[in-house]
């Protein structure tokens, strides 16, 4: 502790330089925090997916439809308890900026399969009874300040034209499920007004009796429809949720690549800054050694400077990320689950900054340690 004033004095030597170096760590860790939160958000759907549900989609692509007639054939497969289906609607509220996912669902079967939908029975009943009824996740409701009973106009993009809905329920969800729950409405209402693709569905969700049968049932479903014009691809709900993230490419790889580039750049910039700072202080370090400070002390002094800047910048950066995420979550409501940084990612971020600070300072520190006093004092 008695050496702390030396550390502090050295850090305050070139304030602008220290602030800029600190700033590079702040920005890097802010970016890391946000990217980690986005990565978590993309994997969250898979994390909360149920193990007793399968998703059956068109083998060619999720945007290709499946015949409605498949439902009854799937129900005949041993181990299948219930089958429901959904259609992607793709409309906007007021204007294009207000995008959020909307899906037409088969009301009679939906709640039997999606048993964790957290709406009250009264809300569900009101939804069932109203052909233009809708249920929405609470984050979307909050975003647009909707209340139960509100009349909601949606402009159809895939299914062109104005569509009118009545909000009958707001799903709170268990855990984060309510937050990522989209806008649900009656398949019947869509079927009645659609001008193309009648009798088709976007994908099926199959509830199975025993999760251990999921592989067998998936295989059996796909075999049932093989060599047909609409071949299927069945996955567990977890794999299906993960595949949504993959629609945008390998998010994890992208984030890891960005993170690696940022840290490498940080390492080079900070390493160069530290080396310059040490070169400027050669005589001073020689004086420390002349008056009795050991080579190891000088090594630790330089390392401590690098680590202090790195860890301090890292903590501030992560703190900023934590502070900004609620606002970003609000802005992205309906598109991604709430953004949050896992404590393991925070620990990883602090560890990375520690490592970056250590690597950036280690070479200048070693050269300071090896410095010969007589040579250094001779320099002007």
């Amino acid at each position: 502790m008695k050496y702390f004033p030396i550390l502090l004095a050295n850090l305050s030597r070139k304030k602008i330089r220290t602030i800029l170096t600190l700033g590079s760590f702040v920005i890097a860790l802010l970016l890391f925090g946000v990217l980690a939160a986005v990565r978590t958000a993309f994997s969250q759907g898979a994390d909360i997916a149920s193990v007793d549900r399968l998703v059956v989609r068109n083998k060619t692509s999720i945007i290709q439809p499946l015949p409605l007639a498949y439902r009854d054939r799937m129900l005949r497969i041993q181990g299948v308890q219930e089958v429901t289906y959904l259609n992607w609607f793709g409309g906007v509220y007021q204007d294009e900026r207000n995008f959020f996912p909307q899906m037409a669902v088969d009301v009679p079967t939906y709640r039997k399969v999606i048993t964790d939908l957290a709406v009250t029975d009264a809300e569900w009943k009101a939804f069932e009874d109203d052909r233009q009824g809708a249920i929405v996740g609470e984050s979307i409701a909050k975003r647009f300040n909707w209340k139960i009973g509100d009349h909601i106009p949606i402009k159809g993009v895939i299914f062109q034209g104005p569509w009118e809905f009545n909000l009958r329920g707001i799903a709170k969800g268990s855990g984060n499920a309510g937050e990522i729950l989209p806008f649900l409405f009656h398949e019947e209402y869509l079927e009645e007004r659609r001008t193309f693709g009648k009798g088709t569905v976007g994908w099926y969700v199959v509830k199975i009796a025993n999760p251990t049968d999921s592989t067998r049932i998936s295989k059996q479903i796909d075999e049932e429809f093989s060599n047909s014009p609409f071949e299927t691809k069945s996955d567990s709900e977890k794999e299906f949720a993960a595949s949504w993230g993959k629609q945008l490419g390998n998010i994890k790889l992208i984030i890891m690549t960005i993170g690696a580039v940022v840290f490498l750049t940080l390492l080079l910039v900070t390493g160069n800054t530290m080396a310059t700072a040490i070169r400027e202080r050669i005589r001073e370090l020689a004086v420390f050694k002349a008056i009795g400070y050991s080579d190891k002390f000088v090594l630790w002094l330089v390392l401590a400077e690098g680590l202090t800047i790195a860890v301090l910048g890292g903590i501030v950066g992560l703190g900023l990320a934590l502070a900004l995420l609620p606002g970003m979550s609000r802005a992205l409501a309906g598109m991604l689950p709430p953004l949050a940084i896992h404590s393991s990612d925070i620990a990883l971020g602090v560890f990375f900054t520690f490592l970056a600070g250590l690597f950036a300072a280690v070479l200048p520190a070693m050269s300071a340690m090896r410095l010969r006093v007589v040579d250094a004092l001779r320099r002007v």
Binding site: K2, S12, R13, V287, I291
Partner: protein, 245 residues
């Protein structure tokens, strides 16, 4: 008493057969050749000589900053030429006070903090360190400037802070390398007065390298160096030192 014949017995600083060679490319340069020196406790010795004569090299060797090619240096009974680098560092902290030509204060630390630096290596408490620093700064006449940064001090004041830093841990001897070389005459005289006072009143052993004959006159004894050989000793008549040939 200062001797250069290698016959001293109980001297504080005892140098015997000291050689220092440097390698410059394929050429070997003899900086010091078979040098003998005895300095008693409390002596104030000036080393004079042309540039490249080996004065600073001798000072560096005496201060344990460099190692000789041959020969031995014994200070207060400790032969420093046999010490490991880490032991030498510890020894330096305990026994040597350095005063540099360019002052070499840490610019981002106050006078107080600069003077305190050698004491951080001791087991003294914060209060004890404060007392020692205040005493050292009072001795050099800068008690009222202890919270000033080097940039807020004149050259002479900076050098006085440098001297306070050198004496604060009560070292066995002071090694001063051109302590007035960067100062005007008036400031130089003040520094020389201070060094003389440290020798007279506080019985500090002072070894000073200088190019300035007026500075050398303040020492008890002036030793001349040329081409790595310690030539002769001159007793400064107005001083109380003693020289033996």
């Amino acid at each position: 008493m200062v001797r250069v014949d290698g016959r001293g017995t109980d001297s504080l600083v005892k140098v015997r057969g000291l050689d220092k060679k440097y390698q410059r490319g394929s050429e070997e340069i003899d900086v010091l050749q078979g040098l003998n020196l005895d300095v008693d406790a409390g002596d104030f010795v000036a080393f004079m000589g042309p540039s490249g004569s080996g004065k600073t090299t001798l000072l560096n060797l005496l201060g344990g900053l460099d190692v000789p090619s041959r020969g031995s240096i014994t200070v207060a009974g400790d032969e420093i030429t046999n010490m490991s680098a880490s032991r030498l560092t510890t020894w330096r902290a305990r026994h040597v006070g350095f005063v540099f030509q360019m002052y070499n204060l840490i610019p981002v630390m106050t006078a107080f903090q600069n003077v305190e630096l050698p004491l951080l290596l001791t087991r003294l408490s914060s209060a004890e360190r404060r007392k020692h620093v205040e005493t050292a700064l009072t001795v050099v006449g800068l008690a009222d400037r202890m919270h000033h940064y080097p940039r807020q001090l004149s050259g002479g004041q900076e050098q006085r802070v440098g001297i306070a830093r050198a004496i604060v841990a009560d070292p066995t001897f002071l090694l001063c390398d051109e302590p007035t070389g960067d100062l005007d005459r008036k400031s130089a005289d003040e520094i020389l007065d201070l060094l003389t006072r440290l020798s007279r009143e506080y019985h500090k052993t002072v070894l000073m390298v200088t190019h300035d004959p007026l500075a050398a006159q303040r020492a008890d004894t002036t030793l001349h160096m040329d081409k790595g050989v310690l030539m002769e000793g001159t007793k400064n008549p107005q001083m109380a030192g003693r020289v033996a040939q």
